[in-house]
Symmetry: C2
Subunit: 489 residues, 2 copies
């Protein structure tokens, strides 16, 4: 610590960065910390037992001001931050859509942070731009999409869908870029009742308002009903409303249901309307040959979002937007100030032209490393295994009296419910019992599941997607659920 | 390599991640690579000498498919990606706004990638949420903003400004969220001719269109003219247009000019209009006592954007949005689907409510580490030194016959021009000569500067902001410029 102090003081006086020697030493400490953390992540409770404000109070006490040695920062991180985080790396993490900070992904992020390039235009980092193009072409091939889909990486699916719908708006209402929406023909976006809230957020942001999204009903398997869509589009056109986009979800958040994208593509084609596919979670499953059938027709989409930071072992954030009409994205977003004009502006790809964000860090590297380290077969094997674990869980739930699986399981996620009276459990009492079971199970610290609401009733969700999850963890989840059910009732 | 192969195969068959032992070994290699890179970054050419498509072709040849050992990925990164990147870490990087991947910032990013938390709601990572709140309160104090500014971290200033202007739209046109803009009173955003293009992009995205931004003229120091703004607002109101937001820029991109934010705040107050401050580059300068005067009045803003990933030694991406009316951000963006509702939803901060992006990685950690490692005085010392270097450069340019500084130098950036005929150089010939000088200087590989256009004439920019830049690098830049001028003329 004394040595640290002296060196830090020296660094401060020299107005430099941490010296390369210090970086090397602290870097090795950080790597060792991470290796140990990953080795024993299952010894932490998945969910921390803190109350709102507790971590904040500790943090507020920690800081003294003045330059501090790195060693202390690492200690504070370990003693103050770590006890308050939700361990997304825990093999018992089954909530939302799980993610994985895989080894190659973490190592790539280290390198990205170090080179710190900003690929806003080609010239500001040629390899940053071209690695993104190369890697997204690689992924495109793996998921079986044809040539002609241009890919870019954004932070989240919310941004990717916003950009896609902005391109759709540009295509349907070409005066919007210049004149805005104030005098325009009202436009509408169509998405199923099960589509993600990011579609509504995008619609609000783009000036369509919540009314600008029409929610289309679903069938008994929670898939968008094409007949209902066709009717809604026709009704809107009759009232002078312009269809702007149809959003198909392949892998919805509540039940991972799969909209009939090929049928929806027909309707989009009939009305010359943009088709956007939200495959943020399930997209990587198209790498698995026997799961590819769920995606038939998505190649007809105008835009597709796939999040490698969900089910493709890539640390957050990495959301891929594929677009078959990239010129529409450019029309929506290209706007180059003088200071960013370069001689290569017409001949090279400038990533800033395909979205709102100007700055772009080197996110492609982690995806490149992940794809190559695991290889396409290695990835397929792992996704297949997650589906197998989910299917095994579902079959045990189905066999057990009083429990029901409430939706098909096309991928690695199971939506289920405890029905204490052994009828369909559609009562407020059953809802309360299911939430109580969930709370009890999550309080164990061994697993973390989440809930949703289907047909206005509480449903529990178990999603397998973390690279560290093995059969034993799923077994344990089921054990905890059954125990909780006996205690709670 | 053989050992690697065997282990990778084992990992593949076990369907696991890279083992912790392997992670440790590769992690140490990566840290050593980074330490060496940072040590000798000035031996690389700042700008790579590649042509569009060259890196891509090499990358396309590299990949073989199948799982690959990590060692090979690191080698390919070093041999294929590194020769094609623009070295933002190079001490001769003077283009755009320079950035720094400081040691503590890089080390924090390693940890963030490893824990891989997604703090969309409080429960999904309590410490992720509260570290962000704590760190942004720390920064708020350092830059002298009062209590009551609520901060969030976004990827880029483009996103931060979009969110701020969405909140402004919500405040001015409260029916927009529900009904969209189709039937609404037209709204307008005011920004100076020198404001950043991200304001236009945000306006297009939000449905205002390019016409929704009125560019206000500037004085001879490139600062927005309050009288012209007042006139424009009055004229719009007379025509039934609603003022939505006034954007003040403190540190414009072309010349780092400073809008008279206090006067603009008066006008905003008169019309009850949102005041947004773009201090993406210059904001950190408010930490330096003798530079604080440039910011007088910004505390009256409704929202302020400051990018620690520009001039605060934090690796990209980290853009901070401070908002004095966070409830307006929530009105614009809060939309919580059932699956994200938690018992803490009303009592804790849920970061997803303050912007478009749902997913949020742990970006606060790097800023926390940077602020603590360097300390407020250490940061002030470094920023002060950058300003001193810029002032020194400016005075040499001014003293030299045929060269002119074309704008005041409030911070660390100099806008200048070679005027070969020793008049004001406002000719197409002079523009061509300045671009030729720039090209020649950048081709040296020793420095990278960029250009802009002022009063329709080419202007060169030298911005000091990288932690590794010392006096010698600025001296060398000036030497190269003078040499180039003699050769080019």
């Amino acid at each position: 610590m004394a040595r640290d102090r002296a060196r830090e003081t020296e660094a401060r006086l020299s107005l430099s960065d941490m010296s390369p020697e210090e970086f090397r030493r602290h870097g090795h400490d950080v790597v060792d910390w991470i290796a140990e953390y990953l080795q024993q992540v299952d010894s932490y409770p998945v969910l921390p037992s803190v109350k709102p404000g507790e971590v904040r109070r500790e943090l507020d006490e920690v800081v003294k001001g003045g330059a501090e040695p790195f060693q202390r920062l690492l200690e504070d991180f370990d003693s103050t931050v770590i006890p308050g985080i939700t361990h997304w790396n825990h093999p018992g993490f089954f909530a939302y859509f799980p993610t994985s900070a895989s080894g190659p992904g973490i190592l790539a992020e280290m390198l990205s942070a170090a080179v710190n390039v900003n690929a806003m235009v080609w010239k500001s980092s040629p390899a940053g731009t071209e690695l993104e193009e190369h890697t997204l072409d690689l992924l495109r091939g793996l998921v079986g999409l044809p040539d002609g889909f241009f890919g870019t990486i954004n932070d989240t699916a919310s941004s990717s869908s916003l950009y896609a719908l902005a391109a759709a708006r540009e295509a349907a209402l070409p005066t919007a870029r210049e004149h805005g929406l104030f005098g325009a023909v009202p436009g509408r976006i169509y998405a199923s009742e099960e589509s993600h809230s990011s579609i509504d957020k995008a619609a609000v942001t783009l000036g369509f308002g919540l009314e600008g999204v029409r929610r289309i009903g679903t069938d008994d398997q929670f898939r968008m009903d094409p007949a209902a869509l066709r009717q809604a589009v026709a009704a809107d056109i009759g009232e002078g409303v312009r269809p702007v986009a149809i959003v198909a979800t392949l892998g919805t958040t509540s039940t991972s249901s799969v909209d009939p994208v090929n049928d929806l593509a027909d309707i989009a084609a009939e009305h010359d309307t943009w088709l956007h596919v939200d495959a943020a979670y399930a997209g990587p499953a198209a790498i698995v040959p026997e799961l590819r059938h769920h995606f038939v027709g998505w190649e007809r989409a105008d835009s597709i979002v796939i999040n490698p930071h969900k089910w493709l072992f890539t640390p957050i954030d990495c959301s891929v937007l594929y677009c078959r009409r990239p010129e529409q994205l450019r029309k929506a977003f290209s706007l180059t100030p003088e200071y960013l004009k370069t001689e290569e502006h017409e001949t090279a790809t400038n990533l800033m032209d395909y979205g709102l964000a100007l700055g772009r860090r080197l996110r492609a590297l982690k995806l490149w490393f992940v794809l190559r380290y695991f290889g396409s077969e290695g990835i397929a094997d792992r996704l297949r295994e997650h589906c197998r674990l989910a299917a095994g869980f579902a079959s045990r739930v189905e066999r057990e009296a009083g429990w029901r699986v409430v939706a098909p399981v096309p991928f690695s996620m199971v939506a289920f419910r405890f029905c204490p009276t052994d009828d369909d459990g559609a009562t407020d009492a059953a809802d309360r019992i299911n939430l109580a079971i969930l709370e009890r199970v999550n309080a164990s610290g061994e697993v973390f599941m989440s809930h949703t609401r289907m047909n206005d009733r509480i449903v529990l969700r178990l999603c397998v997607g973390n690279l560290r999850t093995k059969e034993a963890h799923v077994d344990r989840a089921w054990e905890l659920l059954r125990e909780a059910a006996t205690t709670v009732v």
